[in-house]
């Protein structure tokens, strides 16, 4: 049974698009048939992050308005057998897309794919309503900042009114040393406030930005912290139980020796 998952956050800049791109890539790496859907009309950038910008001919609005067939607008990622992108329109308005059109497109996509991942625009207006309309499940992305947790809380409240499974949480851009010093909200504090299930945590890593700029999601790389995080999240979506990573820094040789001899740090 195919599943449509919307990635949302309320606040902008917390990593919705990056999460969408990487989850899609990770699921495709696990041999799933995946379609990414960008609903951020007018401010599309999922295509840029995926490195597929130059291949866009038709977009989601063209499909909604019946200018082309759904299959014509889908862009295949040549790195995989079954990873496709349905890009957003850059020139249209959010109001050109309706929730009904979204539901129709998603039900058509479900025949073909295992997972449809929907990238939601920031905010709680029409764009958000469109993105959530056809989804079965929601993933809320937040960062360990008060403002982003506040907005995530608002979004979770709104999602509760939709007929979706309870939303799951991804905490993005964690900086371990700041959490330790108490300069950032800790994971436990965030979960206590939002009181929803945690799906995964992702470290703040320069490599993520680098990879996005190259149009190649970080999940391709075999062993950076962030890529492992995203692949773990994908495995949890598939129902595996994967323990959370620890972000402890590698201990130096000296501290290890001290520990071995029972000396205090």
């Amino acid at each position: 049974m195919a599943e449509a998952i919307v990635i949302t956050s309320g606040k902008g800049g917390v990593g919705k698009t990056t999460t969408t791109a990487n989850l899609g890539t990770s699921l495709a790496l696990l041999d799933k048939k995946v379609c990414l859907m960008d609903t951020d009309i007018g401010l599309r950038n999922l295509d840029v992050v995926m490195g597929l910008e130059n291949r866009i001919i038709f977009d989601i609005i063209d499909v909604a308005k019946g200018k082309c067939k759904l299959k014509q607008a889908l862009i295949k990622d040549k790195r995989f057998d079954y990873l496709y992108l349905l890009p957003a329109a850059q020139t249209s308005d959010k109001n050109d897309l309706s929730p009904e059109a979204m539901i129709e497109m998603i039900s058509e996509l479900k025949k073909e794919f295992d997972y449809i991942i929907i990238d939601c625009p920031a905010g709680i207006e029409q764009g958000y309503k469109n993105a959530v309309a056809g989804a079965d499940q929601a993933i809320v992305v937040t960062t360990p900042e008060k403002s982003s947790v506040r907005d995530a809380d608002r979004i979770i409240g709104l999602l509760e009114q939709e007929e979706l499974e309870p939303a799951k949480l991804v905490i993005n851009r964690i900086r371990n040393h700041m959490m330790k010093n108490g300069d950032m909200l800790t994971i436990d504090e965030i979960i206590q406030i939002l009181s929803i299930d945690l799906l995964g945590i992702v470290a703040d890593d320069d490599e993520v930005i680098k990879a996005s700029n190259h149009g190649e999601p970080i999940a391709f790389q075999p062993n950076t912290k962030a890529s492992i995080s995203y692949r773990n999240i994908a495995r949890r979506i598939l129902g595996e139980s994967v323990p959370l990573q620890s972000f402890e820094e590698e201990q130096g040789m000296l501290t290890k020796m001290k520990k071995f001899f029972g000396m205090r740090n």
């Binding site: 506040r150 907005d151 809380d153 608002r154 979770i156 409240g157 709104l158 509760e160 206590q192 406030i193 939002l194 009181s195």
Partner: protein, 226 residues
């Protein structure tokens, strides 16, 4: 003809009590009251006498009540203190019940959500920052209160706000409000906000507040609220 006595007057330490018959017509009652009160010899030196009116099982409309008040007020030295009736309308009773009822809600009140109820609120769950709970009566939160709570929002200053974990953005009781300090602070467990004599919202331990608001106890509460 046997003369029915519709009005009986009783003198007490606090003044006069007028017991009015509840089987005759209202007009009969007014006529006799007019006569009875006029008969009294009035001592000019005497101070004002307060009068309590007991209606028995009679229900008065507000204009009838006004009529009764003006009649008594016309007589020298009489002041109506209170009009008491054994009966109230169904509507009033329903409102009374609603206001003294406890509503139980189980959910997390998230940012942007507002819960507004008549009566007391027992919330099983958290109020997150940006969320608001409002009640005409008291608010009890079995969970973390991190948002705004407004008790007695139609003007009841005796209302209290209790929470298992108290770390609110704002507490409001009737028309008063207090806010959290500007510096980072930790919340407190099992505490209660109430309005003290000086008209400020104070947060104190639950046990202390239970003593200051004895009317929180069960049935007495609903009677006093009425």
């Amino acid at each position: 003809m046997i003369k029915n006595q519709y009005v009986t007057i009783k003198g007490t330490r606090d003044g006069l009590t007028l017991n009015l018959d509840d089987t005759c017509s209202f007009q009969q009652l007014l006529n006799e009251l007019d006569k009875t009160l006029s008969q009294d010899d009035i001592d000019v030196e005497q101070s004002m006498i307060t009068v309590k009116v007991k209606l028995g099982n009679r229900y008065l409309h507000s204009d009838q009540e006004e009529q009764l008040r003006t009649l008594i007020r016309q007589k020298n030295k009489l002041v109506v203190q209170d009009i008491e009736s054994n009966v109230i309308t169904k509507e009033q009773a329903m409102r009374w019940k609603e206001e003294s009822d406890m509503r139980i809600i189980t959910k997390t009140v998230r940012s942007g959500q507002v819960i507004e109820i008549t009566g007391d609120l027992l919330l099983i769950g958290d109020v997150n920052p940006g969320g608001t709970v409002k009640a005409t009566g008291n608010i009890f939160v079995m969970g973390n209160l991190r948002g705004i709570a407004h008790a007695g929002y139609k003007g009841n200053q005796d209302a209290v706000i209790m929470a298992s974990y108290m770390h609110p953005v704002q507490l409001r009781i009737a028309t008063l409000y207090s806010r959290s300090p500007d510096y980072e602070s930790d919340g407190v467990y099992m505490e209660c906000g109430y309005v003290d004599q000086s008209g400020k919202i104070i947060i104190d331990r639950l046990q202390v507040v239970a003593k200051k608001r004895p009317e929180l106890n069960g049935f007495e509460r609903s009677v006093l609220n009425g």
